[in-house]
């Protein structure tokens, strides 16, 4: 693995150079929010962000995406084209929790038998440059409870670690290798590695919250009907904020829209929190109240995903905790489940 040292103030210049050659999505300040957007000439990417408000899953699994188009002909409605393929891109400034979410989403969208071409196309063409959390930014961070780590390179093609005066750039994958030329020729030495180790150890310590997320699967296995499920949903508004901000939530709806004989089929983010999510034409709904929907959300993340892919579908980013309008806290739920 190639490693480079770059001066701290050189980073924005490097991103600018990459952006001159290819599309770069980077975190920028938009009003009060930090959001990922396409870097245009003159845009300054944020390199000292905490984390973006939205998870960057949007770049591989957009909240609305055209799946196909059709048009009216004399024979009826006919297919007129698929969606155009994505271009090469670099996604800069992804935090390790969010980078790891891509590994989890790959398990679902890139299975052996059923492949999702829309996701895979964008995923394959995008290089991910992660920014390690030398100091985990939020009190709600809990990545270390769900197999993550603030300095993890999982899901990243290049990992940048803030060493104080320099960044250590670790080239993780062959895709990352293609960007090596932008990162100068100062090879990182053993001292840099040691510094990184020390920062990683410190960063891990700074995460104060530990939850028993990995221990609750056997409890969930046998407690589908537990009265506990009557309690957690009580204050839920079914707004779906948690699922929309979640880096690993992947449920979607497919809908059609038409105008003057031309139409398109879209896929839109959907949410298991919504009453209509499982409602059938007959009126029957297998998840008739918020109780069943919350149980589904908890089960999906901490049991079903583990059953199917041997991984918890949570990266510990803390967004659902921070932005839930009624302060439902997944950490507390996991804690409570562990005591059932």
């Amino acid at each position: 693995m190639e490693k480079r040292l770059i001066k701290k103030d050189a980073l924005t210049g490097i991103i600018g150079k990459i952006a001159a050659d290819t599309t770069v999505y980077a975190p920028v300040k938009v009003e009060d929010n930090v959001l990922f957007k396409v870097l245009e000439k003159g845009d300054e990417p944020l390199v000292t962000l905490a984390n973006s408000k939205n998870a960057p899953k949007n770049f591989f699994f957009p909240r609305t995406e055209v799946m196909l188009r059709y048009t009216r002909t004399t024979k009826g409605m006919e297919f007129s084209g698929g969606e155009k393929e994505a271009g090469e891109a670099v996604l800069f400034g992804v935090r390790p929790c969010d980078a790891r979410s891509f590994v989890l989403l790959d398990m679902l969208f890139d299975q052996e038998k059923y492949k999702d071409p829309y996701y895979i196309d964008k995923r394959q063409k995008t290089t991910i440059v992660s920014l390690a959390c030398a100091h985990p930014p939020y009190a709600t961070c809990f990545c270390t409870s769900v197999d993550g780590n603030p300095v993890s390179s999982a899901g990243a093609d290049i990992l940048l670690v803030d060493l104080g005066s320099d960044y250590l750039a670790e080239i993780i994958t062959a895709k990352g290798e293609k960007l090596l030329k932008y990162f100068g020729d100062v090879k990182a030495d053993a001292a840099a590695d040691q510094k990184k180790e020390a920062i990683a150890a410190q960063a891990e310590k700074e995460i104060k919250v530990q939850i028993p997320a990995k221990a609750i699967k056997p409890i969930l296995d046998v407690n589908f009907e537990h009265p506990f499920w009557n309690t957690i949903h009580q204050k839920c508004l079914a707004c779906g904020t948690c699922t929309y901000l979640c880096p690993t939530c992947h449920c979607f709806d497919i809908s059609d829209e038409m105008k003057y004989g031309d139409g398109r089929r879209l896929r839109n983010w959907d949410s298991c929190m919504f009453p209509t999510f499982t409602k059938e034409t007959s009126g029957h709904n297998p998840r008739p109240s918020q109780k069943e929907r919350w149980r589904q959300r908890a089960m999906h993340k901490f049991k079903y995903y583990v059953d199917n892919f041997n991984a918890i579908a949570c990266v510990g980013c803390g967004r659902c905790v921070m932005y839930c309008p009624v302060n439902i806290d997944i950490r507390k739920i996991v804690e409570d489940i562990s005591k059932l």
Binding site: M67, L68, Y70, K75, G76, M77, E78, F79, G82, L108, F109, Q111, K113, Y114, K115, D116, P117, Y118, I120, F224, H250, C251, F252, D253, I254, S255, D256, M258, G263, R265, D270, C272, F277, T278, K279, E280, T281, S282, P286, R287, E292, Q296, M299, H300, K303, Y304, D307, N308
Partner: protein
Amino acid sequence: MQNPYIPYPVEVIKIVTEVDTKDIKTFRFAFVNKEDEEKFKYIPGQFGELSIFGKGESPIGIASSPTQPGYVEFTVQKAGVVTSALHEMEEGTRMGLRGPMGNSWPIEFLEGKNIVIVGGGFAFTTLRSLINYMIYGDNRKRFGKITVVYGARNPGLLIYKEELEAWGQRDDIDLNVTVDKGDSTWKGREGFVPTVCREVAPSSENAVTVICGPPIMIRFTLPVFFDLGFSKENIITSLEMRMKCGIGKCGRCNVGSKYVCKDGPVFSLAELDKLTKEY
């Protein structure tokens, strides 16, 4: 990479109105591109997404049998946006079809056994596929005795009437058609499906029953088969859930960690017992 979300273009080549209430029709589709028929190689019990551009998609069990080449059939009740649009269609119209999806009736498991088919109302479509598959030519030899119990509320609601007639003529199917309540012209059997099953009393010896119908019918039919000595491994059924993608990605049709669209829709009662009752 084959895009599983892009439907094969198909043409409606035949429409049969199955019931007096006219809200259940069988649609026969031919593939516009011959090579797509090869790609849509299916097994009885699988389903497809009927895709109408501008309206949406609806997952429907395949009613024809793979032993009937050249077309594929779906029997559809008019209910929502897509199925209503479908019911407005005329022969010659083009639309889309995705699939085949899901597992299937466990053909290999059924081979060499006596088969008891139990259907209620309009949930007889993939059972019809299975029956036509089993009785086709040399296939018939691969299965033991075939007993069919099929019921509807009244004679006008029985589907596949011509086929029922034809099956009734054969001596290698024990066909028992029943209606909850007959009318002046009905000469056949009257009685609810569970009752008729008890009367027909198929032996559980080396036998498997495949049951599809409304929940109320299934609830009262299962005890009959338990009494007859059928094990839960030998009672097979098919589930329905709201679906979108059909390939286990969109996240809504799961029962526990199983997706009905790709891990189902066919489950044995033994398998269902291990899942949550959220369907």
